[in-house]
């Protein structure tokens, strides 16, 4: 019998017990932070809260929120809660939206993080007999080390490929019989395409599962990847600020990701008012890390928009499930007054038979927003007449209009000319200079 859980007693813990554990850890964490981080202490004092006010989970809303701006303000040591000599590692965000954020880890932090990732690998069917190919980037990015450490904990043979060099990825995958692939979903799709180009069929590889995360992807993209690689594709969620991948992961149900609630308390808030919303509401995800020693975050606003569900899961895990992020409160584009998430455009592309390689360019011409979508023309849609190619552009534009409520200009471009992501894809270029 295949092992279904990595830490069964925690993963299937009755809810009452789990809440009691969270309460106890929260109380301790608030005190740890208050006593060791002047930045937090000042923030709490500003709100008139002391550790004595936090007696359990129900007091969580009394704490102030923490945002990415706070982390940038505190760069590099401002939020460190232990002596630097107790830290064994750092990781850092990509810094694409501003100054980098540096997160610190004690050995215990690394251990607990790797446990979280190990749970995800076991949930994807991983055992010590598996060969795990990690093609997330290694380095400051948490993807590579996170999956690597989790894979070790499960006892899998770990291939530390890092990202890029697709030729070598495929060679190792075939020669060493990788069974679990870990990378970004767009790179998984690219590997699938590359295998096809080299004449491989989905059954030619030994892969059975993939653990994909670090960027938004849709259900349609999941189906494409599953078909092209002949695997079951699992989503994994995390952010450098809270540890890295493994904050939440999918089980075989593939219906939302179980949040590792023994380490993280999740809340959903209204991004505008900060008000905590009832279960099942769509809003911004907020995390409190209750076991982190070096870099604990209280009520950290992720900017990811999602929904939490306590509905019983057939896998037996009791931890709450989060939906795939439906967009980011800061990724959301407002075009001609309409809220647009790039993932909506991606859904249309896949439905209409295009690859999920696209670029959205938003600009403002004569005080009016313009939306241009660049998409690769699939070979089977190309013919010798302008009329037919233009027809594809028109029908894609009208499908996007139906989805968004605003009309884009679609530009079909040559295959493989839109930059492929071996890390994260730059899918949105917003040229508007708004004063």
């Amino acid at each position: 019998m295949e092992r279904r859980y990595y830490q069964p007693e925690i993963e299937t813990m009755p809810l009452e017990k789990l809440r009691a554990l969270q309460s106890e850890r929260l109380v301790r964490q608030v005190r740890h932070v208050y006593e060791n981080v002047p930045y937090y202490r000042a923030k709490m004092q500003e709100k008139g809260v002391t550790p004595d006010d936090i007696r359990g989970l129900e007091d969580l809303p009394k704490l102030p929120f923490l945002s990415k701006a706070d982390l940038r303000d505190g760069y590099p040591y401002g939020l460190l809660a232990v002596p630097l000599s107790d830290c064994v590692r750092i990781h850092s965000t990509s810094g694409t939206t501003g100054k980098r954020v540096v997160a610190f880890y004690t050995q215990n932090d690394v251990d607990l993080w790797e446990d979280c990732v190990a749970r995800a690998i076991v949930a994807a069917g991983g055992t010590r007999d598996d060969v795990v190919q990690v093609c997330y980037g290694y380095g400051l990015f948490t993807g590579g080390s996170g999956l690597h450490g989790g894979s070790h904990k499960v006892g899998c043979l770990t291939l530390p490929m890092s990202s890029g060099n697709t030729e070598r990825q495929i060679q190792f995958m075939m020669d060493l019989g990788s069974t679990i692939l870990c990378c970004t979903p767009s790179y998984a799709a690219y590997i699938g395409e590359s295998l096809k180009e080299r004449g491989y069929k989905p059954g030619d590889n030994k892969l059975k599962a993939g653990i994909f995360g670090a960027e938004p992807w849709t259900e349609e993209m999941r189906r494409d990847i599953e078909a092209s690689l002949g695997i079951k594709a699992f989503d994994i969620y995390g952010l450098t600020e809270t540890s890295g991948p493994g904050v939440a992961f999918e089980c075989e149900e593939q219906r939302g990701m179980h949040i590792n609630e023994d380490h993280f308390i999740a809340e959903i808030i209204d991004p505008d008012t900060g008000e905590v919303l009832p279960e099942g509401s769509k809003g911004e995800l907020v995390f409190t890390s209750i076991t982190k020693e070096a870099f604990p975050l209280l009520r950290y606003r992720t900017r990811d928009i999602c929904v939490l569900s306590r509905e019983k899961c057939s896998c037996g895990r009791t931890h709450v499930r989060m939906s795939k992020p439906m967009g980011r409160s800061d990724d959301m584009l407002i075009i001609r007054g309409v809220n647009v998430f790039p993932s909506q455009i991606e859904t249309v592309l896949l439905n209409e038979g295009y690859t999920p390689n696209y670029q959205i360019v938003v600009d403002r011409v004569n005080n009016s927003d313009t939306l241009d979508v660049y998409v690769e023309l699939p070979p089977e849609k190309f013919s010798d007449t302008v009329r037919e190619v233009s027809q594809w552009e028109k029908s894609l534009a009208s499908a996007i209009t139906t989805m968004l409520g605003i009309k884009p200009i679609v530009h079909l471009v040559s295959p493989k000319t839109i930059t492929r992501s071996e890390g994260k894809a730059v899918r949105v270029v917003d040229k508007r200079k708004l004063v």
Binding site: S383, T385, V386, R387, V389, H411, V413, S414, K416
Partner: protein
């Protein structure tokens, strides 16, 4: 026999055509006729070459999206009204011409026209029956 025409997808940006002509010259392919249709965003370059297989391979290797279609190549006398007779004949048979382009022939007194129609075989037999000289691939 209809002849094979290659169409290459070109984005409207500098160097797009260079990629095509360089790929063909490296493959030692000789172009016999070409025509470009363009929109604001993209163009389609249509080519008749001496070796369609080698050309198709060379373009695909360069990552240039290439399609192949049959076109009818017809010789017409190089004199006023000759093309009118040809298109009148096809119109009479309700054959719609998607596009056409003409190219010169080394033989004096004669021009060639490449015709893109939905059913190349049918158009060809109509033209042959009416006494037009249709050209097969070997002639190139």
């Amino acid at each position: 026999m209809a002849i094979r025409q290659l169409s290459a997808f070109l984005e409207n940006k500098p160097g797009a055509l260079v990629a095509v002509t360089e790929a063909l010259s490296r493959a030692g392919v000789d172009m016999r006729a070409l025509s470009v249709a363009d929109t604001q965003d993209f163009g389609i370059l249509r080519l008749i070459v001496n070796d369609p297989d080698a050309a198709h391979d060379a373009l695909t290797r360069e990552g240039i999206l290439t399609a192949e279609n049959p076109v009818v190549a017809v010789g017409v006398p190089d004199k006023p009204g000759a093309l009118t007779n040809l298109v009148k004949l096809l119109a009479g048979e309700e054959i719609n011409i998607e596009y056409l382009y003409a190219f010169l022939s080394p033989v004096k007194g004669r021009a060639f026209v490449a015709l893109r129609v939905a059913d190349a075989e049918k158009a060809e037999s109509i033209l042959s029956a009416a006494g037009f000289e249709t050209v097969s691939e070997g002639a190139f």
